[in-house]
Assembly symmetry: C2
Homo-oligomer: 213 residues x 2
DNA sequence: TAGATTGTTAATCGATTAACAATC
DNA sequence: TAGATTGTTAATCGATTAACAATC
């Protein structure tokens, strides 16, 4: 009997590779390919086959010696680890162009992230509909959170409002923030923050371009 | 005489922290604070003071023993390393909601990234103006690149067009791609790719929420 | 069986942290 | 001078890679 190894927490570096494996496996599935080797996966992703095997080994290993990995099975198992398929409800705060773009994005719902409301403070935006959701005033957030399960708040507000809105959101008990403001957030320990710093990413790109890796 | 140490290439991990230092120093400057210690910076960013000093030491050290770092000077030096202030010209491919949000974003130009054109293939979008730029047809890209300095192409196209558009862009000689499609790009060695995988980020957030770090 | 490829341990590499002398 | 904080080396920690036995 082989036991799955959940003893020690999985490192963040491994977790961040899982969505990439998952996407690649989705592609293979669509193409009707049923098996894949660690070498194939590594080549595609620019990492070593050794790292691929090591990553899966963290969870007990999903392959068959001499054969490789079954695409369908591996896809499903990684999906389970990542919690894809369990629906999480998300609100978007900030209905500017970025907030609206997030609200309209197709890919999130497919992976279990359901957008259930959009908030802003600008009166001229209120009542406008993005997809099926009317933009609500931020004053209504408290009531909304009291009456709905909100798992994640996406912050697409101007940088200088980020701290304030993050404070509000955590006071209301929301435990996960997807932050797009170019600021550092200091949130309570039990609140998970994941930031997308667009400008940082662009600056690193500019640096690498000038200093050709 | 102290020589700046440019002997070995700086690790990517260090470079990715520089924009964060830079942003923090910008804030301090605005607040009129003139000195900062490695301890202050570390606390703010959730890293050790040792790491902060080690990072700056890569470039020869910018501080004064017993005092700390001069905010204005450090800000300027990090800016120089990152190449902030040298203008880079960027085009956006894909004028959907995400492409438009990028085009409208205020923060890029401030850091030297100038958006000079937007392209799409949908005829109903052509001619529409985003900021001062008219949306052009992708067929015009080749001419445009021939007549303008294009440093960076931001790819905000549907995932299934990503590879094709990346191929086009590299064939036209553009050396840096800021990729928003949820795909792995295989580009020539001399092309720099920086990807923002929104869905990956969201999935990791969901994972961390379920598995409370 | 021969060939292929994983599972798994060990070795290496690189990044982070600790420590403290230097010096403002 | 005493106190503070960097510059810099060494120690530690963690992540990646190599290697190969296991086994399909």
């Amino acid at each position: 009997v082989k036991l799955v190894k959940y003893e020690k927490p999985i490192s963040g570096a491994v977790i961040r590779r899982l969505p990439r494996y998952y996407r690649y496996l989705s592609t293979l599935k669509e193409m009707g390919i049923s098996k894949v080797s660690s070498k194939d996966m590594g080549n595609r992703m620019g990492i070593t086959s050794s790292q691929v095997r090591q990553d899966f080994f963290c969870f007990g290993g999903y392959g068959l010696q001499g054969y490789g990995y079954d695409v369908e099975f591996l896809h499903e198992e990684i999906g389970k680890i990542l919690g894809i398929g369990t629906t999480k409800q998300m609100i978007i705060i900030g209905a500017g162009s970025l907030g609206q773009a997030l609200a309209k994005h197709k890919g999130f719902e497919k992976r279990g992230f359901k957008i259930i409301a959009i908030f802003d403070v600008k009166s001229e935006l209120l009542g406008e509909k993005i997809n099926e959701h009317e933009i609500m005033h931020l004053d209504q957030l408290s009531d909304f959170v009291a009456n709905n399960q909100v798992d994640i708040a996406a912050l697409a507000v101007p940088d200088n409002f980020g701290r304030e809105v993050a404070g509000l959101v955590t006071r209301l008990g929301i435990k996960a923030i997807w932050n797009f403001a170019a600021i550092e957030l200091n949130t309570p320990e039990d609140v998970i923050v994941e930031s997308i710093h667009l400008i940082d990413s662009l600056i690193v790109l500019g640096y690498n371009l000038e200093n050709k890796k």
